[in-house]
Amino acid sequence: MTKLARLIDQNRCMGCRACVSACAVENYFTPEAPWNVMVEYEVGTYPAVKRVYNTMSCMHCEQPSCKAACDAVGAKAISKNQFGVVIVDYDKCIGCGYCAAVCPYGVPQLNKSVAELYPGQGKSGAETIPYKDRHPTHRKKANVVEKCTFCAHKLDQAVADGKVDRIGKDQAYTPACDLVCPVQARVFGDIDDPNSEVSKRIKATGAVQLKKQFGTGPQVYYALAEGAKS
């Protein structure tokens, strides 16, 4: 069984936002509904202060509160796929915003309107793909919720190509944000495989999940910088 997880190493991250930019281009999210955000804050007491960079996107929780809320209202637009990835079905979403209200990480974005990545400058990159030919997670709609999908279009391609074992290793089957990190602060792969790079790095760095007190079992792990919040 393949269960996908991500490690983010705050001791390596320098806050360059390459991951944020890569996600914006790959998934053409708009500033009003970002899928990936760089949170930064200071720790320590002057003069011994330092800045912590904590990039955040969907945690793809084991017990997603967004899915529980969505199921409770009867929309059932949120599901977990065979890799444990939490996906929103835009055709089923009723835009009630309950998922956004209950997510402890503030991840789901109720996108009020579909906008171009570069407003007024025409479509660019993946936006030029005809709507019907796009992956379902890229068929954006107004007044539905959207969020990080672990680049589900790439994962589905890996399944179609019979190369699930190459997820997190090949460029074509790895989320855009993890590919572009210039300091290898991000690792993506199968956490069920003890020999995978992500499993080894989580173990070696003692990485932890954020906000464990909510009991949602996030699948994104953080190797915390000294003094960083969890």
């Binding site: 949170v39 017990q63 402890p104």
Partner: protein, 108 residues
């Protein structure tokens, strides 16, 4: 003549109503549909009604202060007409085991 016309109009109206009713009956889905977005709006709908009317909580119980939780992706959002975002740690004051109800999706 007027009575005849009135009776015809009334008869046609009744036939039309019965057809409409039949259409509605046949169009009714077999399963219970999801509630509408309007009725579930977290700000205007059940979400606030439960906390303010049933539980009698005042606004500042949840909207206590500025968002101190930096680990919140939508932290910079501004709710135009409201008193500001809710720090999720306040939610946990009630929504955490062994207190009930637990947080959505949280393990028991």
């Amino acid at each position: 003549m007027k009575r005849l016309i009135a009776a015809m109009v009334l008869g046609m109206a009744m036939v039309a109503m019965s057809v409409s009713a039949a259409d509605v009956t046949t169009a009714k889905p077999a399963t219970k549909p999801a509630a509408s977005a309007k009725s579930l709006d977290p700000v205007k709908g059940a979400f606030h009604r439960i906390h303010t009317q049933k539980l009698k909580l005042s606004c500042d119980t949840c909207h206590a202060a500025e968002l101190k939780d930096v680990l919140f992706l939508r932290g910079a959002e501004v709710i135009a007409s409201g008193p500001g975002p809710v720090d999720r740690s306040i939610c946990l004051g009630c929504h955490q085991a062994p207190a009930k109800p637990t947080w959505y999706g949280a393990t028991k």
